[in-house]
Amino acid sequence: MKMSNFEIVAREDFSDVTYLLEVRHPLMAKAAKPGQFVIVMLNEHSERIPLTIADFDRRKGTVTMVVQAVGKTTMQMQQECLVGTALFGMVGPMGHPSQTSRAKKVACVGGGLGVAPIFPQARGFKESGAYVIAILGFRNRDLVFWEDKFRACCDELILCTNDGSAGIKGMITDGIKLALARHSDIEEVVSIGPPVMMKACAEATRAAKIKTMVSVNPIMVDGTGMCGGCRVKVGGQVKFACVDGPDFDGHQVDFDDLMSRLQRFTAAEREAKDRWSESCRMTKQIGPGVSPRGSPEIESRSELLDLLNDAKGG
């Protein structure tokens, strides 16, 4: 019985840097719950990278992740993960599922890439009968995705963009303030996004003492509690995000520590990305037939390169 060969059955590009991958894995689709994550490997030489499960379809037997091309591996995945290809490995679902509490009114806050994994949570709350307010933040209109999906399952949607090109102009915290002003009875906030956003979100609800859950995504290797790389400080205690989390009480998480630990491999990450971008550029100049390790798609997709360079440091 082969579990899955990790075939990519659908892909959608939300922007120059954000893309969705839907992978066939019937057993995992059956087991997955909101809040859990997977670790994927693109090929035998790749890193193991943790990605939050953005959606799963038990009927189709697929699991969906939304990825942002920010480093070498995610940029390479953007080039190579086309429909019909397969990942080298995908393991999960990992971590504790999110506890969908019995709160009657909740705000589900997603920023940037965090918009994807907040979706199954919003849907989960809706299914358990809560009034769900979705607060989504993007840098600009071009980066917006899944607005329709959220509108279909939430009672209210507050869209924020930094430049005001869609929804209200402002940060995600402006959206939270708006929601808190409209509703004095929000019992719980769930927030997924970059650490700096989750920190701001936790600060925004601290005074009102509204329960605020966040989903952390630190650097990890195995995802099974064995390496300790993903340790985070929660309420003064050391927790491993992979087996103790990834959801924690946002008011207890030491976000500064989390953000600092995300910088562990900055130099190596930059080196890998530069080297990879350079090898792509070389391929483009020399022409087909000399693509780096196992990526025949690179030549035909070389028009992407300029975009990728723009995404550096993004």
């Binding site: 087991a31 393991v91 971590g95 064995m226 300790g228 790389g229 190596a268």
Partner: protein, 501 residues
């Protein structure tokens, strides 16, 4: 009949094993100990007295018939020696390298009472490596039965259990969370002690027995133990998931970016091949001055890996003295030869911050030994006013592990107070049909102990399933080992139980 050997007639000196020179090997990941050649193996095999007591057999956790395999070496019948080894030990190449023989077979060797003990481990490795080189495998005739057995974890405990159950005719599937099978042998033990080719050869042997490996499978989360026993139709399950969950010191500076567990360092380096960055994508934290805390085998591996990755200085910090160090003597010796600086009776007090989230150094306190503690070892106590600082940019914790929580979180298995799986004397867990062994039962231990537990669990599992250990004659091409049994209690051959359990 050869003349009876006496302690005076055997070669007096233990045959040394060739090693890479410390200076050279500290710069590469090639194996340190090169292994015996033919002449060396023959000479060392002559040192076994073939004494009637055979204390070595009971000293071995899996009860290898040591004098018998050594006798075959003296007869230059290496295939015969391999057949005897594989009667009881699945992985001679692995165990010959990583077993702490000085505390086991060699520790009780009769020769060792007056001279240095027979180098049993080196001889075992010699035979195991010959088998890999020559492509020998012992595949018994297996009569399939209707039982389906699931093994959770592909480390030494799981592999040993899988082999025995496959040989008994069961349909065995091994689940592994990582993308490669082998468990700690792959992610933990570095190449210079145990090359990956050796592990892969042993895993191939298992596949030849019909064992299926399913990697990328996190049991507990993808499906549970209860589901395995229920809807997935497994008749029995063995849980050998290892200890995992590394301990941190809990001192100021623990979460600085230059502080990591030995598990993380070793996994990045060994399994993810970060030492070959950027050809492999996984990065490694590089340190010029590395301090490794702890003095077990994992700590020794971490110090020696750090040297090979290019550290200029590697310190080993341990709060007790050398006598209490849990690492094998040979490992400490190797590390010392390669230039690791040992600081015995030294305890970390805090990790010093460089102001940029990284490590500047370490503050330690000198210790002295006081009264014996619960472990029977003298308790180290700090010497007042002996604090001192030294410069370091990477700190590696190798101070042990706690129980991995995933099984407890996802199954109804009863755990003990420390979070390890609670089992009875037959390694049966609290759910019918589920057995457990290795580090997830005992806490961190050795490879051979885990293998011993895997085999013990297999015996219990067979009893539980009602499988009688009937004889399984070899399909033996060499003809030398005909009639021997592959890992089956020889008292129970030929369908006739001589002794009723």
């Amino acid at each position: 009949m050869a003349k009876k050997k006496t302690i005076r007639s055997i070669p007096q000196e233990r045959t040394p094993m060739r090693e890479q020179a410390p200076q050279a090997r500290a710069k590469n990941f090639e194996e340190v100990a090169c292994g015996y050649g033919l002449e060396e193996a023959l000479r060392e095999s002559e040192r076994c007295l073939m004494c009637p007591d055979e204390p070595c057999i009971s000293g071995c956790p899996v009860g290898i018939n040591i004098p018998a395999f050594i006798l075959k070496i003296t007869e230059k019948n290496f295939r015969g020696a391999y057949d005897i080894l594989t009667d009881t030990n699945l992985l001679p190449s692995v165990c010959g390298r990583v077993c702490p023989q000085e505390n086991q077979c060699e520790g009780v060797c009769t020769v060792g009472e007056s001279l240095e003990a027979v180098a049993i481990g080196r001889l075992e490795r010699f035979v195991g490596d010959a088998a890999i080189r020559e492509g020998w495998t012992n595949i018994p005739y297996i009569e399939p039965n209707r039982f389906k057995v699931g093994i959770v974890g592909s480390g030494p405990a799981g592999m040993a259990c899988a082999a025995d159950m496959a040989k008994a005719g069961c349909d065995v599937t091994v689940y592994e969370a990582f993308h490669q099978a082998g468990g700690v042998l792959k992610y933990g033990i570095p190449d210079f002690r145990l090359p990956n080719e050796v592990i892969d050869a042993e895993i191939d042997n298992l596949k030849k027995l019909g064992v299926k490996f399913e990697c990328n499978t996190l049991v507990g989360r993808l499906f549970t133990i209860d589901q395995m026993i229920g809807e997935m139709g497994f008749h029995a399950v063995f849980v050998g998931v290892g200890a995992g969950y590394p301990t941190m010191l809990g001192i100021p500076g623990d979460s600085l970016n230059g502080v990591l567990s030995a598990n993380e360092l070793l996994t990045r380096c060994n399994l993810m091949r970060a030492k070959e960055f950027p050809d492999y994508d996984t990065p490694l934290p590089m340190g010029k001055r590395v301090a490794v805390v702890g003095a077990g085998n994992t700590a020794m591996d971490a110090t020696r890996v750090s040297l090979r990755l290019g550290a200029e200085k590697v310190y080993c910090i341990y709060r007790r003295s050398r006598t209490e160090a849990p690492a094998r003597a040979e490992e400490v010796h190797h590390a010392e030869q390669e230039g690791v600086e040992f600081h015995w009776l030294t305890n970390p007090a805090s990790i010093l911050d460089d102001g940029k989230g990284g490590v500047l150094g370490m503050r330690c306190v000198r210790m002295e030994l006081g009264e014996p503690d619960s472990s029977g070892r003298r308790r180290p106590v700090p010497i007042a006013g002996s604090e001192f600082d030294f410069a370091a940019d990477l700190v590696v914790y190798a101070i042990g592990t706690n129980a991995n929580p995933i099984m407890g979180q996802t199954s109804s298995l009863k755990l003990n107070k420390r979070g390890y799986i609670d089992v009875d004397e037959n390694l049966a867990a609290s759910v019918a049909g589920v057995f457990a062994g290795g580090d997830i039962v005992t806490g961190a231990a050795t490879v051979i102990e885990a293998m011993g537990a895997g085999r013990k669990a297999a015996r219990s599992m067979k009893a539980y399933l009602g499988i009688r250990d009937a004889g399984l004659p070899y399909l033996n091409r060499s003809g030398t080992g005909a009639g021997t049994l592959f890992g089956i209690d020889t008292r129970e051959r030929n369908f006739a139980r001589v002794r009723v359990a």
